[in-house]
């Protein structure tokens, strides 16, 4: 009966209740949409980094990453790659030779990271082949092919078919150069990555660097999905004890920080919205209590104890907030679901987002945990919004309250 009274009391003053209900609904809708937007943005950035740049897991010689010393290679990398690819939780694996060196055109030169890849293996861990804007992904029969980005091509003032010279250090610490021909140009929309990465064939680079057959500096591993990463890493750590096995969040902590920050900001935003609504709710509930002094006095007189009266007022406030909260969660969810499949176009912002490595077409990403937590926070707001009004209600003396006109 107390629930029934509270629920009916919510609708006693429809206009007033609707105002607070719509405020809560709009606030929650905006909160869910904005947080889903930023989550989607961060997720796309991380997905892109995983698919294009770092994969889920990388294996290195324990000392390689310290100075990128080329002599610190994994001796049996190609064999390990084959084994890893056969693991259930691995979707792909590829060995890479890595050299931080220089690429030069006839006009100018640039410091870059040169990756020597086995194309048929590399496509199992990277989507670089999907980002080709000119030429092909190592399908050319030409000798010493190299893939560079359109940004780097512009910087070096080269184009498809141009020759570039790669200069690097071999295992004997001798500086050697090799001529490569541009057979493909890619654009991953990540300016920092594009400007500093070039790709050649594993065999061409291993010959130049004098790296023994079957060895590599890095093994990139793709898990079947994000949830499988931790398990796969544990398997690899126990299997390859002599090597360093790191996940994407360890390799690129700034990306991990981005996800964490987005999650944290989502809650900060929701809490700010709910705090603003809390004051409206307190105001409404105070009005409710002041209007019903006589009724509350009567309830106390006929034997309704203070806990029940307190609960009745708290319940009314929670139901009011929750009605708006549920409406907001439903609306916010529907809008977010729509934009999960219909991108929000930010390209009109002059490529500012792209320069930061984000996509200019953002798909929202709905977080079910957020929806549950928002609902719980709305209930908490309802409770907090009613504590003072309910306390005020209980301060009345029933004999005086029932005589108030």
């Amino acid at each position: 009966m107390i629930f029934s009274i509270s629920w009916r009391n919510v609708w006693r003053n429809k206009i007033r209740s609707l105002i607070i209900l719509v405020s809560v609904a709009l606030g929650i809708t905006a909160g869910i949409f904005v947080t889903s937007f930023y989550k989607g943005m961060a997720k796309q950035r991380i997905d892109k980094a995983i698919k294009t740049e770092i994969s889920h897991i990388q294996i290195h010689h324990r000392d390689f990453r310290e100075n990128n010393e080329i002599s610190r290679y994994i001796t049996d990398a190609l064999e390990m790659t084959t084994t890893i690819r056969s693991m259930n939780s691995a979707a792909g694996a590829a060995s890479r030779l890595i050299s931080y060196s220089m690429v030069a055109s006839a006009e100018t030169s640039a410091g870059v990271k040169i990756s020597g890849v086995i194309p048929e293996d590399e496509i199992t861990v990277s989507n670089l082949q999907d980002n080709m804007v000119e030429g092909t992904y190592f399908k050319s029969a030409k000798r010493n092919p190299v893939l560079i980005s359109s940004k780097l091509a512009e910087k070096l003032k080269v184009r498809m078919g141009s020759k570039v010279v790669i200069t690097l250090q071999d295992l004997n610490n001798d500086i050697i150069s090799g001529a490569f021909r541009i057979t493909g140009i890619f654009d991953t929309k990540s300016p920092a990555f594009d400007e500093s990465n070039v790709f050649v064939r594993y065999t061409d680079l291993s010959t130049m660097m004098l790296i023994p057959e079957g060895a590599a500096h890095e093994i990139a591993v793709r898990a079947v999905d994000n949830n499988a990463v931790a398990g796969l890493r544990a398997d690899l750590v126990s299997r390859y004890t002599g090597y360093e096995v790191l996940t994407w969040s360890e390799l690129s902590p700034e990306l991990w920080f981005l996800t964490e920050t987005m999650g944290f900001l989502a809650y900060v935003l929701i809490i700010i919205i709910l705090l603003a609504l809390l004051f409206g709710l307190v105001n409404t509930m105070l009005m409710v209590v002041l209007e019903r002094i006589r009724e509350i006095g009567m309830l106390m007189a006929v034997g309704m104890n203070k806990i029940r009266i307190f609960s009745m007022i708290v319940l009314e406030s929670v139901l009011l907030a929750l009605s708006g909260g549920v409406a907001g969660v439903v609306t916010g969810t529907l809008i977010t679901l729509y934009f999960e499949t219909h991108a929000i176009n930010l390209s009109g912002m002059g490529g500012a987002y792209e320069d930061l490595g984000f996509d200019s077409y953002v798909y929202t990403s709905l977080d079910t945990a957020l929806l549950i937590n928002v609902t719980l926070l709305v209930i908490l707001t309802g409770i907090l919004g009613s504590v003072y009004p309910a306390y005020r209600a209980l301060q009345n003396n029933p004999s005086e309250a029932i005589r108030i006109k």
Partner: protein
């Protein structure tokens, strides 16, 4: 045997310049099944006396003993519980819960008591028939006349099967016909259920029905007459 004994009951308000003795040393006892009117001019202490009797206001001194228990020795929580189980209230302004229907207003008290659902249903129906509102059970108070609302209030007061019912000016807001009708119902229920009714009133029609009339003046009992009807 008396069910209520009032001993040296006092309620003194400290005014800014002079203290007001709203109830001034009242000693009374009430038997089961009484139908008693408390009369007196405005400011004579009728309402204050009823509030003290019902445990709604603290006395300055004295006792209200119900079935051997001084209600003012009970803690605040137990006193509320005591009111729920042993006292029925009828207020001048009806004071029904506007969002509940007539029957729900009656059921509400029994639900607070934690009575079984079927018993609540039966008792509600019985009382709504007794006050002649079985046809209007589903109506909310706003759809009932003043007289009908006060009849629902009487049914509510009796729902908990109290030891006694306190009614403060129950007919003050009613027209003659509604007031007569309400009094007939109260009198009938008083006899059928053998529940003590104590009501404060200015209304001569109410006084005419009472079997005991206590007259208060300046917080003191001036007359206490038993009327043979």
């Amino acid at each position: 045997m008396s069910i209520i004994e009032v001993k040296n009951l006092e309620k003194i308000y400290d005014g800014s310049q002079v203290e007001v003795r709203a109830v001034d040393g009242i000693n009374l006892s009430f038997e089961r099944g009484e139908f008693t009117a408390i009369v007196g001019p405005s400011g004579s202490g009728k309402t204050t006396f009823l509030n003290l009797l019902g445990g709604l206001d603290n006395p300055t001194s004295g006792e209200v003993v119900v079935d051997g228990v001084n209600i003012w020795d009970l803690g605040a929580g137990k006193l509320i519980d005591f009111r729920l189980h042993h006292i029925g209230f009828v207020f001048q302004a009806y004071n029904l819960i506007p969002v509940l229907t007539a029957e729900e207003n009656v059921e509400f008290i029994m639900e607070l008591q934690g009575r079984p659902r079927q018993e609540i249903r039966n008792r509600t129906l019985e009382l709504m028939k007794a006050v002649g509102l079985e046809e209007r059970m589903k109506n909310r108070p706003s759809k009932l006349s003043g007289g009908q609302q006060q009849r629902v209030a009487v049914a509510r007061a009796l729902a908990s099967k109290p030891k006694f019912v306190l009614a403060d000016e129950p007919t003050a807001n009613l027209d003659s016909r509604s007031a007569e009708n309400l009094l007939d119902i109260m009198e009938k229920l008083n006899k059928e259920e053998n529940i003590t009714f104590i009501f404060s009133t200015h209304d001569a029609r109410v006084v005419k029905k009472a079997r005991r009339i206590i007259t208060l003046e300046d917080g003191k009992v001036m007359r206490d007459e038993v009327i043979q009807r």
